[in-house]
Symmetry: C2
Subunit: 338 residues, 2 copies
Amino acid sequence: MNIVITGGAGFLGARLARQLLEQGTLSLAGGAPQTIQTVTLVDRAAPPATLTADSRVRAVVGDLNQLLDASTQVVRADDALVFHLAAAVSGECEADFDLGMRSNVDATRALLQACRKLGTSPTVVFASSLAVFGNSAAQPLPAVIDDRTLPTPQNSYGIQKFIGEQLVADYARKGFIRGRNVRLMTVSVRPGKPNGAASSFLSGMIREPLAGVRAACPVPPETAVALASPARTIEGLLRAAEAGDAEWGARTAINLPALKTTVGEMAAALARVGGKETASLIDWTPDPAIANIVTSWPAAIDAARARALGLLPDGDFDSIIAAYLSENPRTAPGAATQ
Amino acid sequence: MNIVITGGAGFLGARLARQLLEQGTLSLAGGAPQTIQTVTLVDRAAPPATLTADSRVRAVVGDLNQLLDASTQVVRADDALVFHLAAAVSGECEADFDLGMRSNVDATRALLQACRKLGTSPTVVFASSLAVFGNSAAQPLPAVIDDRTLPTPQNSYGIQKFIGEQLVADYARKGFIRGRNVRLMTVSVRPGKPNGAASSFLSGMIREPLAGVRAACPVPPETAVALASPARTIEGLLRAAEAGDAEWGARTAINLPALKTTVGEMAAALARVGGKETASLIDWTPDPAIANIVTSWPAAIDAARARALGLLPDGDFDSIIAAYLSENPRTAPGAATQ
């Protein structure tokens, strides 16, 4: 089996690739396990050398729209599975509306067209987002979000992801692809550097202090958030690819499970796992632009469809931090980070 | 005030234009009544001569995408209100996926871009559709649809209209336009000829027999449908333009009110209003392709937001037929139709 991952050099994409290469086989859409022959990583950035060192990895580097416009073979005749993770992030999309439309709507549609042209109905796992749900005074969100809650996005990223879900659903209904719409929760703790996502601080406020660096938290401690660890997130994406059509059910998106916590509880967990001095490196510096986006997202998710697929949320944030530390060993405060 | 109607030569567009020209003024978005200076009708077909005879009417004839691509002034600097009714209909979109995407998604987006470029935040009333709701075995519709029911379209037309709603909502949120998403019910009785809409027969089965012509009904008599007369539909579109932002509320779409009836009850009403012989001109000829689309639509609508705006459904189908007959006097069976 040949697999494509857009956004394949990003944190989630690369982690997903590593997991696939490690397990070596995958049961696609309820079928028997098949050997994974190639994993194509499509991204504006080159994938990490640890991945390209594997002979099964193929890298396609460039802007997804440009690659597809230029008829570069992003998906090839024998690709059976595409994880579409590439996207402009929420902060970027709010700052530059047209960039978001191009990166999240046009690129998704062009990718689906490329899949359709294969004529083989490949499986497409589309990474949608919790950000399709937005709270507003005119239309408050229900206390708990479930798989049938009407999305009312309050930012362009959420609208664009929700449009992507509709495209995937209809391409699937027409038989052009087998579609899997999966809404990712906010992933924390992400390693690496901050990005333009409004939710970036939800990793940074843990990651930076653990490296001895101060980090800003732009929302008040009582802000409730719905989080998933990188491991649970990858598990959800893989399960979407593995589920058979009947098991998967409706073409509408499923919400992945989330741990409901607050930013204050996250800081308390950091103090417990990393020490009080570490937690004191968090600066509580309000940023209304970020807070407006993040506080419009829901915090309580009833992920019934995901649960029926055997997917569960993380147990507590302490364990998430501990897992992050075991994968990203702590450097001494002040030491250069890798 | 200057007003644009896309699909302005169509039945609803022309009727809306006539109504606007007749009343001569409009209170836009909660403001004071303003004199209507021009009504621009944009359509692939030329508007009826009865409309172009009015000096306030301006006709722009052509394909909407091509007009906008060619920078033809579809909307002009002083246009304050756009009714976007132009669309490929449900049957066409199901038969030709790419045509539907172009006509319903690309054209809507291009029109919104043209409005955005004005820099004046014009009001855009977007005619969405009941077809955003679709019933399926994997995800049955609730017994009653309300304004917060999750749309699960089961045809491309419904998906494309729902994507249009999302675009209108986000363009409105960004302040590029003032947005009004309005879901039209199936309009019956439409005068004129059958069109490519899967719901076309819901007018044809009344209109053709009244003209002494046989007509096919492709679904069983017990099929439940949600209908609105042309008059109630135009009333809904105008109310959307008139409502102030606070009165209108959320940027998500409102469902217009609908009369819940069945195809069998429609035939019975035809027998009562038009005579038994007239009703006997209906041929009950099942057509699975049409039935699949139409029976996936909901029949029971709780139009709470519309009701709060003072909009009510038609009282009964007999009155709808009577109103049709008063506007389209009956010709003798066998006489040439106009």
